[in-house]
Every structure is written in C-alpha cells, then in structure tokens.
C-alpha cells in the first residue's frame, strides 16, 4: 500500500496544494466519470458556443446601427437593427442560462458519482487500512479533494468559454478593421505576460499565506482542545505570546498577499488606457476613409473586455494544478486493492449450531512478527469460553479472525464453524449469525432506537424493547425524558460510557445471533453498569456460543472453559478449578488481581 504520510516541510505542502496542470494519470482516471455525462457536456458546449458568439456580437451590432443607419439618418433601418439586437439578446439569455444549467448538472453529477464510488471503495478496504489511516485525512479526501476534482469539468467549460470569447472579440475586431485591430491587439500579449508573472508571484504568496493560516488555526484548535490542561498548568502567558507570533506572521503574509493581488490593478488599467488611446489615435487618422465612427465606439467597448477572459485563463492554470493534486490523492486511495472479501465458491451460512474450531491457526500483521502461533481450540455449541492473557497476547486478533475482519492467508490453519471453513462462507452471512461487542462503545448519530436497530431498520419496536430488557438497558432508556427517541449527541456525550455500552449490547443482541463475542466489553465502564451487565450475562449467553475476553474475575470464573494466552500461544485451557490447581499463568493472573486488595489488609 502506497500511502504517503503527510510531510511537514513547506515543499511537501506546496506539492499537496498544487500538482501538474495536466496530469495524464488523473485525467485518464477521470474520463470514466465524465463519460456518463457525455450528453450534458456536449449540450453545455453547444449552448456555450451560441452564448459566446451572441455575447461578442453586441458591440458589432451597435457599430452597424451607428455606421449604416444613424450616420445615414435611416431611422427605419435603426429600428430593424434594434429588433435584431433584442432578438440576439434573447438568444443570448436563453443560451447563457442553458449553458450554466448543463454545466452545473454535469459537474454535480461527476461529484456525486465520485463521492459514492470513493465511499463504496472505502467500504471494501480491509480493517488494516483503517488501523493506519487518520479519519481526518479520509474526511478531507471525501469532502475537500472530491470537491476540487469535480471542478475540472466546470473549469474546462469555463476556460474554453473565455478562450472562445477572446477569439470572438479578435475576429470581430478584424472584421471591422484589420489594421486597427492589429494595432490594438499589441497590448494583448503584454497583458498576458503581465498576468502570468503576476499569477506566479501571487501563487507563491498565496501558499505562504495558506500555510501560515493553517499553522495559526492549528495552534488555536489545539488550545481549544487543551484549554483545561493549559489552565491546570498555568501556561496562558507563554501560549499567548507564541500564538501572537504565529498570528502576526499570518497578518504579515495576508498583507503581502493583498498587495500582490491588488498590484495587478494599475497594470491592467494602464494597458487598457493604452489600448483605448491607440484606438482613438489611429482611428482618428483613418476616419472617413477606411472606417466610420461606429467602429471606433465598438473598438472602445471591445477593448474593455480583454481583461476578464485573459485573467480567467491565467487563473485556471492554477486551478487545474490544484484539481490535479486533489485527483492524485483521491486515486491513490482508489488504487489501494480492496481485500477480496468473498472467494467465488463461498456459500451462505444457514442454520448455525455454533460449534467453533480453531485448527493450527497462525497469523501475523507484519512479516516476522507472529501474533498467533499454531492455536488449536474447540468451542462446543452453547458453551462459553473466556480468554485471558496480557495485553498483546493475541486475544483480540483471535476473534478478529473469527469475524473475518482480517483475511486469513493460505497455509495458516483454519477456523471452522459447524465444520465449515469460514473462508468458504460469505462474510455477510457469517456475520448475520455473530454479534460482537467491543471495548469502546460506538454510537451513530440518530436516536437510541436507531442505534439499537442499526442496519435492521425493519425491526419492530417490541423487538428493540425486548433486546433492551435482555441486556438490562430498558430501565435507564425508559427513564430518559425522550425514552427511545433520545437523540445521541456528538459521540454520545449525553450518555455515560456504561449507558452507551448497554446500547451496544442491545444492538448486538437484536439480531438474535447464535454466536456472541464480548471483546473487553466491560473494561471501561463504571461498577453500576457492570453490575447490570453481569446480571444480564446469564440471559445473554443462553443457548448461544459465547466468547468472552475479560479481565474481571467474576466473568471469567463461571465460563465453561478458560483459554489462557501468552505472546500468541495458547498455553492453558480448562475451567477455573482445573486451572487454579495446575498452578500456571492463570493462577498468577488470578492472584495478581486479588493482590492489590489483599496487601492493603
């Protein structure tokens, strides 16, 4: 997996903002997303063509009105020109509207499609990807970069439009007076060069400003997050000073960026005035001979329109660069091979009894660092197995493999359910019969009801209440003002950890799974809630195969079997009594747990 960590140096940041203006790799990947929009793209282009032609013809029509009719005192002809002018204005209106609507439909379509495909791709990526990737980074791909990239379509249309209107202006100038056109157009290359140089300068300052901004904002954000500890350690003064340094630097870069961005104004004004002067000066020499007064007026009108297309064209270069950089980041993620979730021969799992077998199971996340070593373990249907061991002994990996969060490579042994290798079962059907409660309760936004139902949206309210009663969650939910309709605030901050965990238990049990896995599910909760869960445990494991990872003795003692793990090895199996008698690691862990109290006596 090629996933570049974010560098901190300025060079890296520049690279992150700007790519090549044309990146073949990105464009070729983008084409499939543009293809479904082919019709819209074509329509947008046609509408744009009509729009540009009509738009740049107005000064020319004014010229016809003046030279052919006003000069000849032909009022009737002037009226006809007026009618033509209004008709063209109408066509211009309609085509302009259509162009914008088609273009935005197209780019929104690309955006929607890209987002959906990226999200779908992310769903297929293995758990190991999420272990390594920050959520914030994914969010900025999903929402920042996708937005940048979709603008490519709109940008192409806009740039082409500006280019065409520049050509349109030049063509009309040439038609009216070739000689005067050539003289006037002298300013265009100068203006163009001015804009390019200015863009380069502006870009550099823009980057500096952006970096300075993000440094300042990061500092502010960190202070907001750590405001309590800052007060505990009374560091306000130092922090204020160091923030002020960053903030002042931001002010400085903002000022220079302002000077440069408005610095282009005098140049543009000067060159425009030169162009107008050229028109008037040389026009006056030609008047009555090769051109008439209307040409002069039309020229003055056209000259003022040079600037906008030129600026748009120079700016779109930078915009293309940014879009390409975003595209690169998006396709980098899209290129990560998803795990093959289900091999072709996989079957659906039905009628589960719940016999689980680990046969010669070995596993490692990284080469040479085995996490599990040749594990052999059997759990009979309806039995409860407790797994104990130090942190890092492989307990959680064992159940991650059982639930196929990670795929088991070939020749690493097998895990069977009712005698079927789980690699031969579709993952979805496997998980339909299995429920896992993790150490950290994770709730989604929505109500408590939504959270218990989760993907079983068609579950009835009675089922939800029944599940909540089974796990002893009903009482506290009922006591909330809004009951099951209580909305979950950000990260569940309106509920205690214990209450959130009770909801996770209800969610797990709602589908009535045959296999129940508790992965340190009671490690982080207060004793009152733990008491509730302990009381519910009997009902929870009833007629289910259960695997419980825990370090609280009360939970472990009563299990049918206890598996003791150490550094990836299964070293002891048996019930509490047997393991205490055998005086091994279990006995040690058990004594240690008691020690902390007994010493105090």
């Amino acid at each position: 997996m090629k996933y570049r960590p974010q560098g901190t140096s300025t060079d890296n940041q520049i690279e992150e903002i700007f790519g090549k203006a044309y990146d073949h790799k990105v464009i070729s990947r983008l084409i499939p997303f543009l293809k479904p929009q082919k019709k819209l793209l074509l329509m947008a282009f046609s509408a744009m063509l009509i729009f540009v032609i009509t738009q740049s013809s107005f000064p020319y029509i004014i010229k016809i009105g003046i030279d052919n009719h006003i000069l000849n005192q032909d009022i009737e002809g002037l009226t006809w020109v007026f009618i033509a002018f209004i008709s063209i204005a109408f066509i211009n209106w309609v085509s302009g509207y259509l162009q914008e609507i088609f273009a935005s439909r197209m780019s929104q379509g690309v955006l929607q499609n890209l987002r959906s495909k990226l999200f779908a791709h992310l769903q297929k990526l293995p758990m190991s990807f999420y272990d390594k990737t920050e959520v914030g980074r994914l969010m900025s791909r999903m929402h920042g970069d996708v937005g940048q990239l979709q603008e490519v379509g709109a940008l192409i249309v806009a740039t082409l439009g500006e280019l065409l209107s520049l050509i349109g202006i030049i063509v009309f100038l040439m038609i009216m007076s070739f000689k005067l056109a050539i003289i006037t157009l002298i300013v265009v290359p100068v203006l163009f060069i001015l804009l390019i140089v200015w863009q380069k300068l502006a870009k550099r300052l823009y980057i500096e400003n952006r970096i300075s901004h993000s440094v300042t904002i990061n500092n502010l954000a960190e202070t907001i997050n750590g405001s309590k500890i800052i007060q505990i350690l009374t560091r306000q003064k130092t922090n204020m000073n160091s923030f002020d340094t960053k903030n002042s630097h931001l002010l400085k870069t903002s000022k220079s960026a302002t000077y440069v961005s408005s610095g282009v104004l005098p140049g543009v004004d000067f060159l425009t005035s030169i162009a107008i002067s050229l028109v008037i000066f040389f026009g006056s020499k030609m008047i009555g001979q090769s051109l008439d007064i209307g040409v002069l007026i039309a020229f003055v009108m056209y000259v003022q329109r040079f600037f906008d297309p030129l600026r748009q064209i120079t700016m779109s270069y930078t915009q293309f660069q940014r879009a390409m950089a975003s595209g690169n980041r998006i396709f980098e993620i899209m290129d990560i091979e998803p795990d093959i979730i289900d091999a072709k021969h996989c079957k659906k799992l039905t009628n589960v009894k719940g016999n689980i077998e680990f046969n010669n199971l070995s596993f490692s996340y990284a080469a040479n660092k085995p996490v599990l070593n040749n594990i052999n373990l059997k759990i009979k249907s309806g039995e409860t197995l407790a797994i104990v061991g130090h942190t890092g002994s492989g307990k959680t990996t064992l159940i991650s493999l059982l639930s196929r969060l990670y795929n088991l490579p070939l020749n690493n042994g097998s895990i069977n359910i009712d005698g079927i290798n789980i690699q031969d079962i579709t993952r979805d059907s496997l998980l339909d019969h299995m429920a896992i409660v993790l150490q950290e309760p994770f709730l989604f936004s929505g109500t408590i009801m939504d959270n218990i139902k989760y993907r079983l949206t068609e579950a009835s309210e009675e089922d939800v209440i029944k599940a909540s009663k089974t796990v002893n969650a009903h009482q506290f939910i009922k006591d909330l003002e809004l009951g099951y309709k209580t909305p979950i605030l950000e990260r569940g901050s309106n509920l205690s950890t214990g209450q959130r965990q009770l909801i996770s238990f209800a969610r797990a049990i709602l589908s009535n799974p045959k296999i129940l896995i508790l992965d340190e599910a009671t490690a982080n909760i207060d004793s009152t809630t733990e008491d509730l869960i302990q009381k519910a445990l009997k009902n929870l494991v009833y007629e289910r195969t259960a695997i419980i990872i825990a370090h609280r003795l009360s939970t472990i003692r009563e299990a049918d079997n206890i598996a003791v793990m150490d550094q990836g090895n299964l070293i002891e199996v048996g019930n509490h009594k047997k393991l205490i008698q055998s005086n091994g690691l279990y006995k040690k862990l058990y004594d240690f747990n008691y020690d902390s109290i007994e010493i105090a006596r």
């Binding site: 000067f270 007064i293 339909d432 994770f442």
Partner: protein, 580 residues
C-alpha cells in the same frame, strides 16, 4: 490601535474618492475625442495635437485610477486583516483563560468553526461594509447624475431598469441563502455519515453493514445533488436575466440615442459616453445583491463570534490577592456546596479536612460529584456556598496563578500537545532543564520507554507523531504534574481507563510521588483507593461513609458493596452464574 485604524480608513476613503473620480471622468474624455473625430466628417482631418491631448488625458486618468484603486483595495483589505488578527488574539485568550463551565458548555468543534469561519466572515464584511458598499453606492449615484445631466430623458430611460434589477436580485439572494443553508445542513449530515463510518470502521465491519451504510450515504449524496441543482438554477436564472436586462437597455439607448443624434439633439460623443457609462453601471447593480447577502452573513457571524468573545468568566479575581510561594498543603472544606445551575446541586454541605502530607481518597459512582471536588480546589469553578481554605486562607483570596502552581492535577483523559515529549513534560515549567525532565519521567516510570524511542525525548507525539498507549500517555501526564513539584497532588480517575497491569505500573510510580505531599485520589476503583489514610464514599454530592479500607469493609455498607462487585465474586449471587 484604534486611531491607527481611523487614519487607515480615512486614507482608504481618500484613495477611493480619487480613483472613482478619475474613473468616471475618463468616458467624458473618450466622448470628447469622439466628438472631435466626428467633427472631421465636416472639417476634414483633425490635427494630431488635438487628439494627443485627449489621449494623454485618458492614459493619465486611467493610470491615476489604477494607482489609487491599488491603495484603496490594499488599505481596505489590510484594515480587515488587522481586525481579524486582533479578533483571533482575543479569541485565543478568551478560550484559554475562561472558567471551565464555558468549556463544559461548548463543543470544541463549534468553537473551532467560530474561530475559523466566523472571524473570516466578519473580516470580509468589514472590507465589504466599509469599502465596497460606499464605493458602489457612490458610483451608482454619480453615474445616474451624469447620465441625466447629459440628456435627461435618455438618462432616465437608461437607469429605469436598475432599481427593478437590484430589487429582484436582492430577493433572489435572500431565497438563495435559504437554499444554501439547506445544502450546508445536508452536507454536514453527509460528512457525519462518512465520519462515523470511518471512525466506526470496526463496528461497521462487525455488523456487515456496508450495504446499509452505502445506502445511507447515497441517499444523502443524492439529496445534495438535487438541492445544489435547485440553487444553481435560481442563481443562473437571476444572473442571466440581469445580463439580458442590461443588454436590452443598451439596445434602447442605441435606438433612442440614435434618433436623438439624427435629430441633432445629442452629439456622437455623448452617445459614446452613454454606452460606456452603461457598461460601468452594470457593476454596482450586480453587486447590490452580493452586498446584501454579505451583510446578512456578517450579522449572523458577528453574533456568533461575540457570543464567545463576550462570554464572562465565572471566576472573579479580587484585586488584593495574596501570592503564595510554597503551600503546606493543608486543605479544609468548610460547608462547601456547589451547583452548575441553581436547581441541581452537585455538592451539598461538604465538610472535611486534609492535613499536610495526608492521602485522602474519594470513591463514588459517575455523577456522584467526585470530579467536581477535584476541580474546586484549583478554582476551575468557584464554590456556590461555604469556603475552601488552603493553609487557613480562603482560596478566593489567593492569587489564582500562585494557587494553581501549588497543585498538580492529573486527569483521566490526558491531553498531550503535538510537540516533543520533552516539551510536553515541561509544559507547566518551561525553563525546566533536561535533567529535571528526565527525573520527572523516571519518577513517573516512563523514562525507560522514552529511551527506547529513536529520538528519545525529542520524539514528537500527538496526532501526527508517535502513537502512545493509554498507559504511556497517563504516565507522561504524571511526569508533567511531578515536574512542578506541587505540594498538593490531585488524581482524578487517573487510572480508570487503563488495564490492570498498567494500573499497577502507574501505582508503583505514584508511591514515590505521593511521599511528602498532600494527595487527593479520586476513583471508582477499590484497588486505587484502598491504601489511602482515609476514604470518603460519595453519593449524590454527600459523604455517606468514611474511614480506612478495613473499617469500611467491616461497616458492610456501600463501600463493601462496591468491593464485592469489583473483586469478590460471591457464589450465591445469581448474577455471575453462567452455567445453564
């Protein structure tokens, strides 16, 4: 500062005045030139010198205009940057000094968004309100007067459309705001869906619910598509209509103006001026809607911003406070009550004494008020009733910083800063030597681990740096408190989110730290509190039991209850019988 802003603004206005004047005079000269040229139809070729004069005037005027509008824009923008700068500083200072109840109330995400987007909105509106708005209004008024002055009838005809266009587009803009807000809300919902999907990746996979997640995502995504198209339609309809109306009025000027020229009621130059001024006029008219929108946005952003900047800290430091150096660590709670709001009291009439060097523990369920006790001593909140005495002085009479420097508080969630380990440990004591840092790390039993890192104490931690486990973070948090050498140590649920092994490691390190210090241990675990000189059991803000571990067990009350639950599985309790 304020006077400097005033001069900045006056200068900017002067530049604006100059730029606008020269900008609006230019068409006059162009018109003059056209008149001279038109005259040549009758008088023959005009002398170059006459044209040159006008041409030079045009170049000069445009150059002056360019120069002045550079300064006008720069000065206006820079003024807004300066104000944004001081707003950011104020914001920063507010969040790091205000009392804790403020932070309990506000989500960090909300604060960050106000600091970023609302300050930016206010900044833009300063430039908009002070510079752009007067500029556009002035331009519209002056051009209208000039046009009417040139030819009153044609003038009125040519500007007749403008109020209608402005009014229409302001209306559209306000409708647009609602549409955009809808899009904003849907977009926020979409990002919540993806955010939760990514951070809950394990849950999503455990429930095999990616299809369900995809359908949730796609339906919101679709919704945004339609909402955006609606907004785009409205925008395009308005923008293109505006352009059409302008083109039509130029057409009318051509028709009527042409007739006037034919009838010799208008000169060529005047017709030219009309056409050019009409082009100029399009700017203030299109911008009217934009200004109204910016104004509306600025008002709401300003309100949101000042809600933070004007927030009052609930702590009041009196003027004649006493600065203490090294306290003895003698704490007395004298009839202390506390409530966040008047109805719900968190702590009721609490009375206890901690003698110098004593170790006191408080145990209770979440919500019993035990953390509040920890926060009252360093005055993160002030008591509602009664008083807390340190060395027999009411803590409200002690200089706040000197009080806090005497207290080391270790929280449950350790927040570490995105910098080196060394700077994190020395966070409260910036001038600490590396030896002091190492000593603190050794006492906190984290030195050995730090030594195994490639860069040792210079290792960057936090979001973009090395990941630390909960226990390691906790021990850095301890080192950070230890380095202050405080006479009072408060441990607020310090070990509740680490596993048993780590807990015992941390407890080992705490043993040395607690020596010769007044220590307050707050926890819901028996194993953490059992060794204290005295244990208070707290329920609903009141002490219900107190004594040593053994005494409390013998009392057979609440403490015994908790003890049973946590450590001693009793056979006769049906609760733990798993066998069917």
């Amino acid at each position: 500062m304020a006077t400097r802003h005033k001069w900045n603004l006056i200068l900017a206005y002067a530049c604006m005045l100059g730029a606008t004047t020269s900008f609006l005079i230019t068409p006059k000269f162009i018109g003059k030139a056209v008149d001279k040229i038109a005259a040549s139809y009758n008088d023959g070729i005009i002398p170059t010198s006459l044209i040159i004069e006008t041409v030079i005037a045009i170049v000069l005027l445009m150059s002056i205009r360019g120069f002045l509008s550079f300064w006008q824009t720069s000065l206006g923008e820079n003024l807004s940057h300066k104000i944004a700068y001081s707003l950011r500083n104020k914001f920063f200072n507010k969040v790091q000094t205000i009392s804790f109840d403020f932070h309990d109330k506000w989500h960090t995400g909300e604060l960050i968004s106000r600091a970023i987007s609302d300050i930016e909105n206010v900044r833009m509106s300063i430039n908009m309100g002070l510079m752009r708005a007067p500029y556009f209004i002035a331009m519209f008024v002056i051009v209208s007067i000039l046009l009417i002055n040139l030819h009153w009838m044609l003038g009125i005809i040519s500007i007749a459309f403008m109020p209608i266009i402005s009014f229409n587009s302001i209306n559209v803009r306000l409708k647009m705001r609602q549409l955009l807000r809808k899009i904003q809300i849907t977009t926020a919902e979409l990002s919540t869906i993806s955010q939760e999907n990514f951070s809950g990746a394990r849950v999503v996979r455990s429930f095999a619910s990616s299809k369900y997640e995809q359908s949730k995502f796609d339906s919101k995504n679709q919704e945004i598509f339609y909402q955006t198209i609606d907004a785009e339609k409205l925008r395009a309809k308005n923008a293109t209509f505006m352009r059409f109306a302008f083109t039509v009025s130029i057409g009318i000027v051509l028709l009527i103006g042409g007739r006037l020229v034919i009838n010799n009621e208008l000169t060529w130059g005047e017709l030219t001026q009309f056409i050019i001024y009409m082009q100029i006029l399009s700017m203030p008219v299109t911008m009217a809607a934009w200004l109204v929108n910016a104004y509306a946005r600025a008002v709401s952003s300003g309100e949101r911003l000042f809600e933070i900047l004007d927030a009052k800290s609930k702590l009041k430091e009196s003027t004649n406070t006493l600065k203490i150096e090294k306290s003895n660590g003698h704490i007395i709670f004298d009839n202390v009550s506390f409530s966040y709001d008047k109805n719900i009291s968190i702590i009721k009439n609490l009375n206890f004494e901690i003698k110098p060097g004593e170790k006191i523990a408080i145990i209770g369920t979440p919500g019993s008020g035990k953390t509040t006790i920890a926060n009252l001593i360093p005055r993160f909140y002030d008591v509602t009733d009664g008083k807390i005495l340190l060395d027999n002085i009411d803590i409200r009479e002690i200089n706040l910083n000197s009080l806090r420097k005497n207290i080391g508080l270790i929280q449950q969630d350790i927040f570490l800063f995105a910098t080196t380990i060394r700077e994190n440990i020395a966070y409260g004591k910036e001038n600490a030597t590396i030896e002091e840092v190492i000593n603190a790390a050794k006492t906190a039993q984290i030195h050995n681990y730090i030594e195994t890192l490639d860069k040792g104490y210079d290792t960057i931690i936090g979001e973009r740096g090395t990941d630390l486990s909960g226990g390691q973070k906790q021990r850095i948090g301890i080192a950070r408190a230890v380095i202050l050498n405080p006479s009072i140590l408060i441990m607020d649920d310090t070990t509740s989110s680490v596993d048993t092994e780590t807990e015992s490691l941390i407890n080992d390190s705490l043993k040395t730290i607690m020596e010769n210090r007044t220590t307050l241990i707050i926890s819901n675990r028996i194993s953490t509190v059992q060794k204290a000189n005295k244990i208070f059991v707290i329920e609903k803000g009141e002490i219900i039991e107190e004594g040593r571990h053994q005494e409390l067990l013998e009392k057979n009350g609440k403490y015994k209850n908790i003890y049973n639950l946590q450590l001693k599985p009793t056979e006769n309790k049906a609760t733990t019988t798993i066998n069917k």
